[in-house]
Amino acid sequence: MTTCLEFRRRVGAEPFADDAEIDAHRRGCAACARYQDELRAMDRVIQRALAIDPSPRERAATAPAAAPGRRGLFAIAASLVAGAAVSLLLLVGVPRESVARAVIGHVVHEPGAMAATAPMPVAEVGKVLEPHGLRLRAGAGEVTYATNCPLDGHIVPHLVVRTAGGPVTVLMLKHREIAKRMRFDEQGYQGVVLPAPKGSIAIVGQDVSDLDGVAQRVFDAVDWNG
């Protein structure tokens, strides 16, 4: 026979417990049944509370502002000021570290990609890019490596392009929106990430001469509606 105390301890840990003894006690004790109902209602709120937007910063940097809600004028004014400050921080700082880390992390873990020197047939490069709706026009340089790689939980095209300034790794990050051009120089790699019509594109190399010019030529060669 389950006591009220045992019942409350049990449903306090598992409000939706499927248990014959719990059900029997519930039927005979209105107070405990009410207690369980309260916990179940609270769990529905907990569930909604836990389901945060997994990438609010990226969205905050790109999404249009929501319409004002139920809050007062002061709250709206305060949130606008805070929002502007947060947005500035987001646009300037936060994505930079994350994108750079993701890109460098990937390049470091695939060193063999840079070793290839033989040009890849255009058709082979096309096979990698086409599923993403992308195409590479002439002008970027010779592609010596092209494959699809997991990055950030997405599959992204990964190319190595031999340019006049040296070989560069190109990662097309359609899933990753950024607000403005970023540069990074970490772990011996220099990189540029450019906002693209669909997401962004990262161009990374080591001691590449005129990296910005190289990055721009690669960017110009990509057809984002290929």
Binding site: R10, E14, I46, R71, S98
Partner: protein, 173 residues
């Protein structure tokens, strides 16, 4: 299937798993670390590790638990290297205000803040149970604890939330 096709298929399967599980992994890492940048870095690193040992995952129906374990270990590894300075929880709340906001429902926002302020030992099993749908047995396995200890933590987690939200008090287990 030649070797190239096999590798392409392997990448596709891994990518597909990551694509579908990444939101949950990010949520889990965020609720544990309470820092968006940290959560993103931990999940990214965890995925790199997962990719390297993808062949050890023989049953893809267990991919979520497998990846959650890797995320959990990765977070522990980060804390081992550099234990974050003790921060005032109000500062953490302010720093994570974008994620904590729920303008559509005040109750959700209050609850989110209350959960955010729970001690990690109560927050983690609650996230695993309510958000990810794990049984207390599965939580015990993942956290390396006895099932009874998990039940106690879950009871206390809800008791603390009820208390903080002014919903009543519970009997001690």
């Amino acid at each position: 299937m030649n070797r190239g096709d096999g590798e392409t298929e392997r990448r596709r399967r891994f990518g597909s798993l990551c694509e579908s599980l990444r939101p949950d992994l990010l949520r889990f890492a965020w609720w544990l670390g309470r820092d968006q940048g940290l959560a993103e870095d931990v999940v990214q690193e965890a995925m790199l590790r997962a990719w390297k040992s993808f062949d050890s995952l023989t049953d893809e129906s267990k991919a979520r638990s497998w990846l959650l374990t890797i995320v959990r270990r990765e977070l522990a590894r980060v804390y081992e290297k550099k234990r974050p300075e003790l921060a005032d929880v109000d500062d953490l709340v302010a720093a994570e205000s974008v994620a904590l906001a729920a303008p559509e429902d005040e109750r959700v926002e209050e609850m989110r803040n209350a959960i955010f302020r729970l001690e990690e030992e109560y927050r983690e099993p609650l996230v695993l149970q309510v958000l990810l749908g794990y049984s207390t047995k599965e939580i015990a396995d993942l956290m390396g604890m006895q099932q009874g200890a998990v039940l106690t933590r879950l009871f206390r987690a809800r008791a603390k939330l009820r208390q903080r939200l002014g919903l009543g008090t519970e009997p001690e287990p």
